[in-house]
Amino acid sequence: MEHSHQHKSHTALIWKVFAILSVVTIVEVALGIIKPDFLYLTKILGTSPLNIIFIVLTLVKAYYITWFFMHMADEKKSLRRAVVWTAVFLIMYLVTLFLIEGSYINNVLGPLTKWNY
């Protein structure tokens, strides 16, 4: 690091990110314990609103960890895109196909499963 002597401390930012991650985790855990019926037993976009909230909050946490703990914010745009876009595209592709396939197997297999004896 040729600029090492110029670096100033980012301690305040680090604690701020820690506070954000903690609050998000506390909200997740609280929702996971309370499970309000209007979020847990209703459906939107093929799952419960609660699940959507959990996934969005997870992505928020992933953003803060990658951008500020792993210092992705300070990297060049080309490096950022090479890593982030590749991961986002491939993971979305894989998950979409797998979940569609899983639902399909459930549709075929579900009626054949015996639950009465």
């Binding site: 314990i33 996934i55 992933a62 703990f69 080309s78 491939l90 993971i91 894989l94 797998f98 499963t113």
Partner: protein, 325 residues
């Protein structure tokens, strides 16, 4: 066009001698290793999602599985323990990034201190995970497995699960566990369930206030189906074995696949944490003996920090998909 690399001699950007992506070789390779490792974990979690969607109406409910908290025996405390584990890992990420920050200022004392805290955090997390595994392996209530592999659990009239021991008489006089020192050295068996199948059947007949429930989840109420006692014997006539706890072959909480994925994915993550702790230790000793002070920069701390944050990142997703969703 922010993505274009602007240098004075743009035709020479990729012809060597400079850093087109603005990062050193080591850091770049760490980023691409992390990318490939992220795809590996995504493959596992997507496979978990596939199986979960396949058995969407009979998947175990995580809230009923992970209910233990240290020093609180018998208290139903879902989520709290794993939330604590999440905090431990996030906090060790904070100390790691503080070590990186101190490294930028060439502050050897601070780097040493924060690296040490990070290692301690990693070890505490590993211990917590071992305890979580122990609870899962030992089980809570016990269940009965039918000939076709389905799991039957016992509930009281309020619909709450009851332990097998609470209604079946426990008696080990007939059968003792076969261990290696009692026969051929390579032959042993798993711990015996607290009660045997006959005792469960007798206990069930003798206690009119308990009934059974199947793995099938009512998708409206998101609860498992309770079978009226009058029909329960039709199910129990098919009983094959008593199940206590979970392993790779059988799982008292429901689908064995749930246990398989749990052991595999949290195990693979735990192995990452373990290797992270070992790598952190090596870097820690290098910091202590002044290797990076002499080198003039603490970039190694940064690189191992990337790996450590990645382990935290993966846990965030494992936490969501195993415990929350």
């Amino acid at each position: 066009m922010g993505a274009t690399i602007a240098t004075e001699h743009s035709e020479q950007t990729w012809s060597g001698g400079n850093r087109p992506l603005g990062a050193s070789y080591g850091k770049l390779m760490m980023w691409f290793f992390i990318l490939s490792d992220a795809l590996t974990f995504s493959g596992f979690l997507a496979a978990y999602g596939l199986m979960r969607f396949k058995f969407i109406d009979s998947w175990p409910i995580a809230d009923e599985v992970f209910t233990h908290f240290s020093f609180l025996h018998g208290v139903h405390a879902p989520m709290y323990y794993v939330a604590l584990m999440t905090f431990i890992l996030i906090f060790s990420s904070v100390t790691m990034v503080l070590a990186v920050d101190a490294g930028h200022q060439m502050n050897k004392k601070k780097v040493t201190f924060y690296m040490l805290l990070t290692i301690v955090g990693g070890l505490v997390f590993l211990g917590s995970q071992a305890w979580e595994w122990k609870n899962f392996i030992q089980g809570t209530y016990g269940a009965v497995q039918l000939n076709d592999g389905k799991i039957i659990q016992f509930v009281d009239e309020t619909g709450h699960q009851v332990t097998l021991e609470s209604f079946a008489a426990s008696d080990h006089s007939k059968r003792t566990r076969h261990t290696e020192n009692k026969g051929i050295w390579f032959e042993s068996e798993a711990p015996l369930p607290p009660v045997n199948l006959e005792q469960v059947m007798e206990g069930f007949k003798a206690n009119p206030n308990i009934t059974i429930r199947t793995e099938q989840v009512n998708l409206e109420t998101r609860k498992k189906t309770i079978i009226p006692r009058s029909e329960a014997m039709n199910y129990l006539a098919e009983a094959k074995a008593v199940v206590k706890g979970a392993n790779l072959k059988v799982n008292e909480y429901g689908k064995t696949l749930f246990a398989d994925f749990f052991f595999f994915i949290t195990g693979f993550h735990g192995f990452h944490v373990l290797s992270g702790v070992v790598i952190n230790l090596i870097i820690f000793f290098n910091v202590v003996i002044g290797t990076y002070e002499r080198r003039g920069h603490y970039e190694m701390v940064e690189k191992v920090g990337l790996y450590w944050h990645f382990v935290d990142l993966v846990w965030v997703f494992v936490f969501t998909f195993f415990y929350l969703v």
